[in-house]
Amino acid sequence: MTVTVIADAVIAGLLLLGGGFALIGSWGLAKLPSLMSRLHGPTKATTLGVGSCLVASVVYFPVHGGVWTAHELLITLFLFITAPISANLIAKAYLHGCHTAPGEQSMMAEGMPDAAENGADWATFGYDDAEEDPLSVPTGAGGKDPSA
């Protein structure tokens, strides 16, 4: 009995935690001022939000369903692999958009550093010493980019 009660309490707590963090993450998404800041919000939804729900599920099924499940761990694994990449790509897309849309130099305002030595630039913008100006459009569909 007590095991069940404790388990239920744990489950309930995890559920509340999960729901709460998912909400906070989305709140951040809605509230924070720029995309780069907003990007931090959903990380919570991904990690603790979904994670807590998954753990709650892992605990719940042996207690109430009579079965062990471990799918949740797999979901977590997938999310943990993919979420950083998603964030990375979204950030890159955003930076690229700022960089190539004149007037919207928001990331400069946030003080983005140079990519340090050797005249290297960030990959999204390309090489500083490259012959290509990232603002110019390349010629031809799928043509060779100098940076490639």
């Binding site: 001022p33 720029s34 946030e110 003080g111 990519a115």
Partner: protein
């Protein structure tokens, strides 16, 4: 052996995943899973050339546990930031982290770790592969933060990816 088991670690991981998916243990399931776990790496080997050497044992496990701990802690920290800090009081900042890690895999793992811990997001890598660009939601001292990340994560990863 190398051709049959190109990625032993991957094979083990796949088998584990298989058993997790099956959700019940049976000898038949295990054998079938083992079969697939051997087969798939053979097929996909071509997609993963030049794998860096990696230590799969304790350091990795320790690293994972550390990251999970950090994730939980950072979550509460960032939740506070989001809920109670006004937007204009936030101190977002860019970190250009100089890298000692060599391999793409290691750097990706580092970047992933940084992203998974709330408050920081890995954004880009420099064209020479020597710097990682990270954005932080609220950072008081950029250099301290860089040093923190390098000490906490990159150092451990350097142990794993020798």
């Amino acid at each position: 052996m190398k051709r049959l088991l190109p990625h032993p670690g991957l094979t083990a991981m796949l088998l584990l995943i298989w058993m997790l998916m099956l959700n019940s243990f049976s000898m038949g399931g295990l054998l079938l899973g083992a079969f697939f776990a051997v087969l798939i790496p053979v097929y996909t080997a071509a997609f993963w050339p030049d794998r860096p050497a990696m230590r799969w044992e304790l350091p990795l496990l320790r690293f994972v546990l550390l990251v999970i701990r950090d994730i939980i802690v950072a979550n509460f920290h960032v939740a506070r930031l989001i809920l109670f800090r006004r937007n204009r009081d936030l101190r977002p900042g860019w970190l250009a982290i100089p890298l000692e890690l060599h391999s793409a895999e290691a750097i990706t793992l580092l970047a992933g770790t940084i992203s998974l811990t709330p408050g920081t997001v890995s954004v880009d890598i420099s064209t020479d592969g020597r710097h990682l660009l990270v954005h932080a939601l609220d950072v008081a001292d950029v250099n301290a933060e860089i040093a923190h990340i390098k000490a906490r994560y990159e150092r451990r990863l350097l142990e794993i990816f020798r």
